[in-house]
Symmetry: none
Amino acid sequence: MSSTSQPRRGNTRQRIQDVALELFAEQGYEKTSLREISEKLDVTKAALYYHFKTKEDILVSIFEDLNRPVTDVIAWGREQPRTLETKKEILARYSEALTKAAPLFRFMQENQATVRDLSIGATIKDRVLGLVDLIKDPDAPLTDQVRCLSAIFTLHAGMFGLKDIDGDAEDKRKAVLEVAVDLVTRAHDPGADR
Amino acid sequence: MSSTSQPRRGNTRQRIQDVALELFAEQGYEKTSLREISEKLDVTKAALYYHFKTKEDILVSIFEDLNRPVTDVIAWGREQPRTLETKKEILARYSEALTKAAPLFRFMQENQATVRDLSIGATIKDRVLGLVDLIKDPDAPLTDQVRCLSAIFTLHAGMFGLKDIDGDAEDKRKAVLEVAVDLVTRAHDPGADR
Amino acid sequence: MSSTSQPRRGNTRQRIQDVALELFAEQGYEKTSLREISEKLDVTKAALYYHFKTKEDILVSIFEDLNRPVTDVIAWGREQPRTLETKKEILARYSEALTKAAPLFRFMQENQATVRDLSIGATIKDRVLGLVDLIKDPDAPLTDQVRCLSAIFTLHAGMFGLKDIDGDAEDKRKAVLEVAVDLVTRAHDPGADR
Amino acid sequence: MSSTSQPRRGNTRQRIQDVALELFAEQGYEKTSLREISEKLDVTKAALYYHFKTKEDILVSIFEDLNRPVTDVIAWGREQPRTLETKKEILARYSEALTKAAPLFRFMQENQATVRDLSIGATIKDRVLGLVDLIKDPDAPLTDQVRCLSAIFTLHAGMFGLKDIDGDAEDKRKAVLEVAVDLVTRAHDPGADR
DNA sequence: GATGAATGAGCTTTCATTCAT
DNA sequence: CATGAATGAAAGCTCATTCAT
């Protein structure tokens, strides 16, 4: 009586999150139905409702779990002096955080319209804005402010836009980080090399 | 004779496209129903089907109309010498094209997951790749290739990521373009100032 | 100015009937839409409404045109003496009428449920009953009455049920007729060869 | 505890099949909507989709359940010697099978055009052809092959074509069977009484 | 003799969600 | 810890039909 069936431990909640994220990232949030998730898990739809209150709640819980590292980076950044060194370190940590929870961030990137008016929407926006604020100087020339924004978006873009360039994944990540760091450096210390 | 039950003018097709794009951009493709579109136009859903074969077809038709300028930029770029001047001009033209059809590109940015497996998905990917190819040198160091990618994505990001920075819209556009040009310049002529 | 387009004569009504019957027989009445008919004819749906009042009206008109021969057979039969010779002749004429308007009768055979509550439904039933009445003797033993019914249905079945038997179409028709005649003969003159 | 809002018994699936078959037979497949079925059952349309994947699936499930006896007759026939006795027995068993699932077969008879391109279409054709093959000799004269076909169609026709002849239902069935047997007998042993 | 534009009703299907067991 | 059965709402889509031009 202990064969064929699933690993009967209390890890169902986790499994739901895993499968859900996989499908959300692959197909988008709206196009993924609870039926699909439950079938892939070989449980009933009702089982999902035992573990989560709504479909949105599944996504929120995933987000809350995986977004922690990013929150941490921001929290950490807020307590550091606003030096160039700090900014570089923020980028490095953010890059790493993104990489670790790549499927979630890919999902968020590709489902902005959906995510925007879900409850996490505001959170996400705040997060990115918080990051940018740590890096850019509101009194700097517009161009330099754009550079900082661009640095963050470069990290984002680096996660998906490089599939068609060949090279080792880690190498690519480093190159992306380097470009971002470069942008922020130029923004931080304008005139340095122009 | 200009009131109640407006006299079926011949511009319905255009009006459908306008309203649809507006709603698609605002709420996302999936969350915009044909009922919503038709109600806003004060026609029946069936009327939409007189003008378009499917919901997707509405989007495709909008895309085909508004994407033309971008196609043109790529076509033009392909026939120019691959000089730095050309690259700058491409960025400038692309920036302008994006601005002119901002709602469409905002929509595409925020609905990537959806758009990906619609029929226009491939077209879009090709378009961006085509642009990047015009700008980057496949034999350049990875970092410089990333710079080119980053330049394009900076233009994209500039359309929505700057709402929280104040300043005149046109000023911002120029700043964004300047950063993009700078990135490409550094990629084109590496070592210049490092 | 007289090339590419359709044979611009006033034969549209006829062409509609032809195409409609073809599609009705092929796909069934309900599954054939007016859009399909009009597209195949390269006219608009509205054009169909110029020539016919409703979809049903198209079918009715076809029926009225093609059913005439059968009506004639019955009318003729009613004025003949009720001899075996007459019955044989009725079967022969009916067989011929069926063959000539095969698509219509195939259609009616395969769409009984539909046709039943169309306005022609009653007509059709009357027609078959009328035929059977000409052939069977209401006072004959049940078995012989069934033989007469069977004779008629054999003619019907012969139109479609023989596709998997090989042989010349006309040969098959004759064989079918022979069996039908035989059935009626046995019913007419019971005990003859038993 | 037996009134209002009946206590969701476990027989809903069966009830759906019953009501569906009733309506399909009465009005035809296309003209019967799921709304109609669900209203007659006092459940929602969505409930139907809990039990069946599609409208077609409802029909298929009915067919699979009720067609079994016919399949059995053919299977049985295939293992018997091809004697006249066997053939008679096949007809008898087939007649009985038809009678027991009369509504289904009435439906199939009257909705051939519809059923033809549903997934059961091929099955049905094979079934009739299988039966005919058990009875007719492919080397016999064409007329005798027709007799066999006619025998089978006589059984079919007997189910609906006799409503206007009075007499006890079982008597009529026997008469029909007798005529069919007679046809096959004459086909099996040609020349006997001609 | 036809078309262009539209409608109203209806269809099959899908979805997130609920709740008694 | 989960299921079986069901719901209410809505979606995308198709159809026969109408009517001014």
